[in-house]
Symmetry: D2
Subunit: 341 residues, 4 copies
């Protein structure tokens, strides 16, 4: 492989376009082609971004010998099939989360990737946030000793549309899956048991769509530690993304990021800035870092930071959480899908 | 009743002496008598504190017509019986937490109190901490809207002795009971379901003594909200006492208190003060406030801030948590002891 | 001397009464007598506080053989004369700041104290604030290395009455004198040069009364370091009391104190508590500490923490600042009054 | 003019290369040419950056009809002459600070710019920092009322080389000039008087080179407010860049920026991150913003955010500060150079 990675992007919705913006910042990457089910509205955008090929058929990308890697940014229910095709076409793959709504499908897709010997990175962007990376480092270097308790708070500033909720796979698969991945990333230990509490407090329409909007999930890790994640679909003060690892030598906390350090004190109150509004603001740099690291992994044949197995394990936890919520009891991961490969 | 409250203190261990120190700061209170099972070592202390009567028989206090109220600071397994006797003797009662290790015994004691028409305040000192009071006010005044999620972190700086652990009633009854009370106090809503996770990570000897040292408990409230409490018997950086209420209009957080605001920046790091070390430092003022409010309630015939029922409900939650831990499933409070009176 | 210090208080205005409240908290102190120019309104107060003697003649206190020490809380223009008389009567002396409006008078009073061999402590209460003590310790233990720059911000929440302003000796002598003392206390080095800027921005009436309400004063210390103090008579958000020492190994900062750690985030803003409102709230504990340390110094014959010379030096700096403001140029302390004794 | 701004960069040292990196991020800008006194080592760099022309003669850039604007990043003593030539060549000009070491030269250069009708932006990058912009907005929107006191702290993490010190024009002209500009920017009022204190505490070699390394300068503004700036050439904990505006309705503060929000509490201490190390880290985005705004100003014929007069006024204040330091008295700006044009 040369020292330039030629990529194609499958799906040019919000996240696909975001990746295009970030890929352009990386000198070693050339974006050659973009596909989407409809492309009529994308011609100007493609020209501005110097994208040579715009097509409604993603197979064009897979069949293009110049393309080294594809970014799968299409709807979740298409991911697994495209991964398999891309693997067969010997393309490296960056796939948005979750890999699929079904751990079985995800498992099959991963087998195809393994068989083809290509790289697969899953888009858990938060791993690339400098705050969370720093906490992980502190755990890895034993600064806080043996971890005992992990706490993650993750709240969106506003709920998605009800249409989105219906197709999302549910709060655990769509939203808390990020936190399940973060839990494994920070603790470097597998989750063995999940106990979920969930309810509808933000918007009854979310409940009518079959989902919850507020949840607390406790985790047991293989290393004996406990964890707890709380999610809400609506924090009116902005994107609330904090975590804390408590160990026998201390505690490390990562707080929200704010746009400026400015503080104003008046006769009424002392006011600080609200957290950065949402993921585009909070994880701006993380989105750049994840594609930069993917490019480096492909070009230098190194392991990716967030593998297909990482995607698979997060889905297993999400599935177990759903089972726990429905059954009203803790669910052990081993009860859930187990790979036999 | 006059405008002075004459009190007797039953039990002159650490907490009994602490109450004596604080009672002396309150002009309306006169401490007349102290009892303990052994008093030989207490004569000088009693003289210094101008305590007239020092006795090994707490009945002397109950039979003293001048004494208006007693502080029960003896071991937990004696509380219920003394409460009943004190109530019959028409003394107002301040009782340390927990009221007893058995919700049945507590229930009986409360009935005696009710029958006698005396006041009973339970020593949940944290209700009187200005930080937590402020959070409660913010909830009550609807500043953060309808509460959705309550989070409490409560970690001691060091575990008690194994002897203490054995007699303590266990982490839920001895330590997390404070947080169960805090949950009800902040949310102004009863807990209806408890789901407990617990383990031994701090010291195997605690496990051998039949207890846990690390726990996460999730709560469901009658008002539909969720809650989560995490406890550890050992936070090496000091007493970690924080909470947060998240609602549909915002979030209120109470952070740890620190001895000074001083911050030092050097070539190595930026250092702030550690939290106040333990309850004597953190809740100094809260201990004064609770006895001050008790005195006022007795002298002006007003309701106490933390009633016998508050003690009873916290014990019910602790009991349910223990059952959840043992059974590995959520426990509804209604499964636990229900008063029929 | 016995192990009880019997004291008299001269002047029962706001600060005199504050000292009485604090003296009562100290077991080794007995308050025997209080004098004021008018005492008719004080009888109930004296009774409640178990003060035996209430008189309009402070000489009664000086002539009372049982009284070991006096607290001089009368108007500043009476301090020097009373100090001299008290010294001759062999009483230890606690005197409110400033000792006088005239460095000559102060110098004479100190000579009388020295001749009598009694103790004199000046009421710079801020030395006893735990935040500033901590910063001093960090300097003394070389944590931040050789100090290069000291910065003090000191702003009152509201200006005093115009009558008070007229009799106060001016901003430098009445208000910034605390900061001049703090500068010497923190830096452990004498001030050798002062350069003052001052203006009237808060209230024109303050200017009409011959004073300023906003000032910035730069200092040069004997050890080569620089300093800067800024004062305002009105900070609408509360008492602003911060300082910072910058050295060749780091910087130490002391921030404002707040009533609780509670923070509220809503859709509008993130709000923290305002600083403690004024000196009674901020320096509550410092006022207790200063009289406690004075009592200990008297009873154990140790040096006081804030001596007559400390009072004298702060006045010299205040006088030099006034001269600098009037002359529009830096003033060296040696140009100002020099003791020849 | 087209909708692309073609630029040339004069001087390819550290700051010149930084501007090239940032200019490349701006779609409307094309960098055509770079000049430096020596270019042998720059060929690869120019190729990588797709720069067509690399020359030792900056006149080549001025004579190039395609070039719309030049960035003057050469040594300060060449700025004024190049500005005049560039103005005559009808190029828009972005010039690094300071414009020159002589207010007379700067004045002449500005007259040439005015005569030519081209734009001139001076590189006071800190105006584009989001924290300071926010404070300015708060002042402009009257959130803190009428400003009374401005405080700026500005400390570099390490001193420049002694060679740099010798050629720098001195601390006031090289370093504090940023703060003089910031003072005018925040307060929107001219400085009328300056009083400077300065000394050598960091490194005697700086003193031997005729400069100071530690300084406190007080300012009087035309609007009646006071200001104070403190500078040090060495803060071992990193780049210390804070400011505060105190007004009659409140105070606004801008604190240092930190790489992450992570905090670690151990048995020893509670540690936060140090400030971002130096200007490249702290003002990364500000450097991008300033060239972006310059491009927009040129392409849309709008006024620049930081004009030639802004550069001139900052130099006048720096010159007055130097005079104050040397004379040991306050210096009024009107004593300093006054334009007669």
């Amino acid at each position: 492989m040369s020292n330039v990675l030629t990529v194609g992007v499958i799906g040019a919705g919000r996240i696909g376009k975001l990746h295009v913006d970030n890929l352009k910042l990386i000198p070693q990457i050339k974006i050659k082609a973009v596909s989407d089910v409809v492309v009529d509205h994308l011609h100007d955008w493609a020209t501005t971004n110097e994208i040579d090929v715009l097509t409604t058929n993603y197979s064009d990308l897979l069949n293009d010998g110049e393309i080294d890697a594809v970014f799968i940014c299409s709807p979740t229910n298409t991911h697994a099939a495209i991964i398999k095709e891309a693997a067969q076409a010997k393309k490296h793959i960056f796939c948005e989360k979750p890999v699929s709504f079904s751990v079985e499908e995800t498992h099959d897709a991963l087998k195809a990737v393994e068989a083809a010997g290509v790289k697969l990175q899953v888009g858990f962007n938060r791993r690339f946030d400098p705050n969370f990376k720093k906490v992980r480092e502190l755990v890895q270097t034993n600064e806080i000793g043996q971890p005992h308790v992990l706490k993650i708070t993750s709240r969106d500033p506003q709920p998605p549309s009800i249409d989105y909720v219906r197709a999302s796979g549910g709060l655990f698969m769509d939203m808390m899956i990020h936190d399940f991945d973060m839990a494994r990333y920070i603790m470097d230990s597998e989750v063995v048991e999940v106990s979920a509490q969930g309810t509808v407090l933000v918007d009854p329409a979310i409940g009518e769509a079959g989902d919850i909007d507020t949840a607390i999930v406790t985790l047991k890790f293989e290393n004996g530690a406990l964890g707890v994640i709380d999610n809400s679909r609506q924090a009116v003060y902005g994107y609330d993304q904090r975590l804390e690892v408590f160990g026998n030598k201390g505690v490390a906390t990562a707080d929200n990021c704010i746009p400026t350090t400015v503080q104003v004190s008046t006769s009424e109150h002392v006011v600080k800035e609200k957290p950065l509004y949402f993921f585009l603001e909070r994880y701006t740099q993380a989105y750049v870092e994840e594609v930069k690291e993917f490019a480096t992994a492909c070009l230098t044949d190194q392991p990716v930071t967030c593998s297909g197995n990482d995607g698979f394990q997060a889905e297993r936890i999400a599935k177990a959480a759903k089972e726990s919520l429905l059954s009203g009891r803790p669910v052990r991961l081993e009860e859930s899908y187990v790979t036999n490969g």
